[in-house]
């Protein structure tokens, strides 16, 4: 079922290439064609629902560093789902991609989230503001060079800073080499160990009753 729209897509857009995917079909397209490809899939193959707009950061030094991914679902053809990926333009600090708010108004918040987390500027977006972090926050937290625990910055409310003298602080973070996770993989679960020992000394009847509970 998936082959028909993929074949049509390939004949219409020869520059579209298959993208490795474990489940649903996916295609790579050049950034310049992404809006046309999405419009084609929406209008001629029933992909009427934009499920998500997200991005991949291939980390510093990769070229291109950012890839933007559009997830489409068809509500008329059951089980039809496709991802369309395109490498972002611009530079690493300010990657750009075209907005698809003209095709799906719901893309508005998806693209705002993508901008907030990755810093991708969607050209043609009517209102490209941060959506999760506060206005004035200086970073894009889902970029690979951003530390997991955060970076110390100013609190969003200046009056709160004045009142409390506090800041946005990086969460406590350290690498513990004797972490419980490493122990857990090699030995039985610690919480079960005493019960196992008790079961070995108890009578079979008691063991059975325990199992039955």
């Amino acid at each position: 079922m998936s082959a028909d729209f993929l074949a049509a897509l390939r004949s219409r857009f020869p520059q579209a290439a298959d993208r490795a995917s474990a489940d649903h079909p996916a295609v790579n397209v050049p950034l310049a064609d992404v809006v046309a490809v999405l419009k084609f899939l929406r209008d001629e193959h029933g992909f009427d629902l934009l499920m998500d707009v997200t991005a991949i950061d291939w980390s510093e030094g990769a070229n291109p560093r950012f890839t933007v991914v559009y997830h489409l679902l068809s509500t008329t053809r059951s089980g039809s789902y496709v991802r369309v990926a395109a490498p972002c333009g611009g530079n690493d600090e300010a990657p750009v991609a075209p907005s698809v708010t003209s095709l799906w108004p719901g893309a508005n918040w998806h693209e705002r989230e993508c901008y907030d987390m990755f810093g991708i500027r969607f050209e043609g977006h009517p209102d490209l503001r941060r959506i999760l972090m506060w206005e004035g926050y200086p970073y894009h937290p889902l970029r690979k060079d951003f530390p997991l625990a955060g970076i110390e910055t100013e609190l969003p409310g200046a009056d709160v800073v004045e009142e409390t003298g506090t800041k946005v602080v990086a969460a406590p973070w350290r690498v513990d080499r004797s972490s419980p996770r490493a122990v857990r993989s090699t030995s039985p679960r610690p919480s079960l160990a005493p019960r196992t020992r008790a079961g070995a000394t108890a009578s079979p009847g008691r063991t059975r009753r325990r199992c039955g509970r």
Binding site: W134, A149, G150, P156, E163
Partner: protein, 169 residues
Amino acid sequence: MVSASTDYGYDSKVEGGVIVSRADAAINWIRTNSMWPMPMGLACCAIELMAVGGARFDIARFGAEVMRFSPRQADCMIVAGTVTYKMAPQVRRIYDQMASPKWVIAMGACASSGGMYRSYATLQGVDRIVPVDVYVSGCPPRPEALLDALMKLQAKVQREPSARRLLSA
């Protein structure tokens, strides 16, 4: 009859219908048994907070059933859930809008310490922006744990030098 309580003295033979008490004891007795909470429900702990208000756990037994969504009518802010940095100014503003005397319960791991959210977005404990009186562990805490916190807060309020504070205010 002479009462054994240190909070008030009553001798029916000597004083008839008169009870002698300390101002602190009387004020704290009033405050303790009519504490109106401000439900600052921010995440899943708020569900447990609702359970505390329901018939099964019934916070009304402790005189704290009047949940006030206006901070101006509330005595005790119960911060129930994850406080993000984006929400932090609002939490602080609501605390500032509450009339004194006021208390804060940090309900659950997130409000107490950030919990499992060690990230760029989460305030690592609401005590960074407001003074917390009681911390409740749990993720989320059982309703009984919140009731225990309320009883601990009541015990704390009973020891406060309220009369002195009122006179110096």
